[in-house]
Symmetry: D3
Subunit: 244 residues, 6 copies
């Protein structure tokens, strides 16, 4: 079983964090392949960055064919539907995976993310995946993504915000809203006394389940079938899908 | 890692089906323990049967302490919240688990269950778990639960209904609405050309993910903390929770 | 016209409170029969207690056949769907009845209940019955159910919480979230200057309306038809439904 | 206890039908007062008619002060919020009352009304009162309101449509969508084998419950307090509310 | 192109404010006709006032036939559906128009209105038009409608409340909840640094768009076709629709 | 007033259709600038195409600064939130604009689009914009986007599907689900006898309204402020936002 994890930004240090989180929960016979996007933004902190991360995601999927599952390791779940069209195996975003695992662990969960400008996107995903009732609040710690590793105070700030969010929202669990926080999950969980869900680990777990069951994205209605080939122009010419 | 699967009805033949489905997807280092309820209905086909299955579920959890996850193998997810209060590890119902895995596999899924009188309960669960948008239809094949094994035509009837449901609902995937159908998932999937999700396998996969992440049900708000001890009377006296 | 009110816990003192509330609103030609469950928990303060109260509820219905309506006098509305299958007349829970009467009395209502761990169950019922827009908040006074009668400060604490809930939620009315509060409705109403709805009285009123109209639970789709008979095992053997 | 029922159209023959339905279910010590609007449309079959019926409704309430409840006997529930502001007791519309009583009688109900152009208004009310999940379909028999009495085939047509609606919608109960159908409830119920809910009887029942409990519309937030007095001009000058 | 704007209250000073707001945004070749209702309340501050404003609205539409669009300049959108039945061109309410323009200008908007007793009506409209997710709060400044012009402190109070609402709700834009505030939009916008949407201007803009596209209210399903003629009685006799 | 319309695919023939539709409804003093994307897919018929169209959209906005509004002329509204971050004026998608104008023209509208695989995206937008209640169905005519112009039977097929959708859905209006259908709106409207809404015209109308009111996208909460500058890598390096 092979799970490919794509870091949709171009920062390899974050890929290392993600890879470690994934390996920490993978089943013994699973192969974890963590790849870094080769184009686009160094971190994803706006709708613009998200949109510009999608070509790199697609590229990474096509460079790593034959996997049993693909995980998009950015909490905005960028390009998820497009990735499903081009991948030959199930694709999950880490926001999606984290919420699916968090919901059954209590009546409600809180999300703690990085920049407040990304709260809107997280709220869209909550609504889209059906977790309106489960998700009781989305909170931003205002630490830039690329400082999560370098700022020694980051884990403390996030832990404090998680504790405050749990209390303010009356939640039973907390979801970490950025792949770059994956390394903090143990420390935060110990401190707040509540389940803390990292989407990278959650995604590996759900894709493992799907793979063991032999499941693939359904293409019956055509929506997630491979995209129809057609001419592409200009800078994006390399992304034209070949005629069969 | 130990996963306890509880067949909430008292029919051991169905426990065997469930156990096989679970072992087929379990990670190599996981221990699967499948237990049959020792009290209550031989099959669950009404709100009444569901309610009467809960004491046996609770009993089975208490008889099997120390697991890393508990799965309730009946599609009505009976007694799920009560089980969460008494178990020392995450608890999932198979309807819940199946829907969480089915949703990311396409835009919509259909459910195919046994008796039409159980459609209402399934609809309640769809709503409760947040899958109103994903679940596009619930269909009954009208085969009694205990005939799923003995009736040689069952798999054919269910397969036909799955194909019809996918077409009628415009779905990308189909969820099997009874633990007793777990053995049919391969045949049906091959026939209908769409992902077919069995809740037993899905539940094992999700509980495995939770266990690998070290997650437990959140008890912060008290809702899922152990139930307060108090006197119990009459037939149910054995179910009084002891004072600490 | 005969209305049977079932106290789903085994505490007869609470049955007396409930009976008085019911008689206070019953029409002159109605017979009120209040019965106490003969098995299960002394009070209901957890999902576990609720589940364990259902056998006693069913037993009480079967011991009192031929009524024109059955009221389950616990705000968690335990076993409501199962009760509908076995009763030969409409069945209401007091949460259900209270909300149906409260909604038309203003734009929004607040609920004041006992233990905070039961808020989640009340929220589920709000959603299930369709009162998401009407119910603006659920508040807990943290008084154990069995102390409602014995604690002389209870009515004062609950009154204060009702007043605070009305103000905080911007509500026009307040629903009492426990059958054990039924005796306080007059005092609280006088103090808070807003409609205060007790579910016991509300349930008697709604069942009276249904009885006068000759209405019974619909069984057309089969969901609420009598449960199919089948073998029961172990402790719950007495609950096997007889073959016709 | 006195319940005032207002026929919002000016057709006294329909008031007689309504009055009979109300008396058929009223408790022995209740006084039923049925009044006919003195201004506006002879029947209500459009948004325009509904709007033009409101002055007459308000007038009827003010002409019949001191009641314990007011029922607006038109299925569009015209002017309900305005009526609540001016009445000194609870006010219900018959659509509202019928839906509150129908919801607990099964998983879903269908509505059978008169003209198809009124379906939209009924759908608005379903949504507004919170019965989106309960109401499974609204069907029109295309019989003009004033022909319900005079057309000997009306009851047969409506009965047939009720049976078809129950089957098509998978409903357990049916709500009659016009006060003018109140006299048919017995015949239809006998024919279709499912609970048939007439809003006039339902409204009398719910108002009786509220009156017995001493409930009034909540005015805490001011929304349903008496309207502020101010100058009125032209044809509607008589409707100016007097300064206190 | 001719747009008729109806002030549903009888205060001509407010019509002047509305007219100026409309002319400020109208396209150069559009004719703006602002009319004052000739009957009913001097201002609209209750459900009662709203209901009593409808005859005057209908009258104004019929007195001004042949327009390309009609705008109802009261934030309760009184009589909107009735107006659509009688008008030969699209009809909008200013709440409706303001919300349609505000939603695309950010993730969420706040509404600032006059009396708190009207918040409920505004909330109903938010729900009815589909802006539950966009509208994050409705706030009242408690200034009577007819004092908006005469009270020199009004604009300051409203500006302060707009700023507070934006902050408290986390909104990106603010909607003015009364036609009488139309003249303040520039001052408030400059002060709060966020888009401020006046429904009069929004309504003129949307009706202009519809008129340029040649659109009319759809009458296919009959709901918005002209109301069926029938006898009218009493004070409202003049409102009987003539037989064709 | 200057409105920039961006055809997000690279097919100039479609830009001409769009430009003509826009000019047909623009106010006399408005400048319409229609531009064709210089990179990406020749037509947009999948989630993949949509994602790959976003860089070209952003590029077109930045190449046309200083406008009073930007319209994205593809019914999937690709990159809308990203475009809002980079544009100095309001941005609308044509699906968004069409639905905002269609909703007030009746109780419900139907959408007729091109390929059935795009129905899912349209359904997401319906949900996201709040038109769940208004939109009654989405139908695909299965004509490839680039054949809309060249296929002489296209307008007839689409007209037939519009008529069928209106009848099947019980709708009052129909929305055309592709910018390439903009030229057909007159013919279809004449044939089906119901309002037909083209998103290009609708978008020009709504942006004109916003421009006349001096409105811009709100940036208060930061979500739609300009994206934070940061390094971009590889093929997408030109899309790095400059440091100020």
């Amino acid at each position: 079983m092979r799970i490919v994890i794509i870091n949709p930004n171009t920062t390899t240090a974050m890929t290392a964090v993600i890879d470690a989180a994934a390996r920490g929960v993978a089943r013994p016979d699973a192969e974890i392949v963590s790849v870094t996007s080769t184009m686009g933004p160094a971190s994803i902190e706006s709708h613009y960055d998200e949109a510009m991360a999608v070509p790199g995601i697609v590229d990474a999927i096509e460079d790593n064919p034959g996997a049993d599952g693909y995980l998009l390791a950015c909490f905005g779940d960028p390009g998820l539907d497009a990735a499903r069209e081009v991948a030959g195996a199930p694709v999950l975003g880490i926001a999606e995976a984290a919420m699916h695992l968090a919901a059954p662990l209590g009546r409600g969960f809180s999300v703690v993310t990085t920049a407040s400008r990304t709260i809107g996107r997280a709220a869209d995903l909550v609504e889209h995946y059906g977790f309106t009732r489960s998700c009781r609040g989305i909170h931003a710690c205002e630490i830039p993504v690329l400082e999560l590793e370098s700022n020694p105070e980051a884990v403390g700030i996030i832990t404090k915000m998680c504790a405050e969010a749990l209390a303010a929202d009356g939640s039973d669990a907390v979801v970490l809203g950025c792949a770059g926080m994956a390394g903090f999950v143990g420390d935060i969980g110990a401190a707040v006394g509540a389940p803390v869900i990292d989407g990278v680990a959650a995604g590996v777990g759900m894709l493992t389940a799907m793979a063991a069951m032999g499941l693939r994205t359904g293409t019956r209605t055509g929506e997630f079938a491979p995209p129809p080939p057609k001419p592409y122009t200009g800078l994006l010419t390399p992304f034209a899908r070949p005629q069969d």
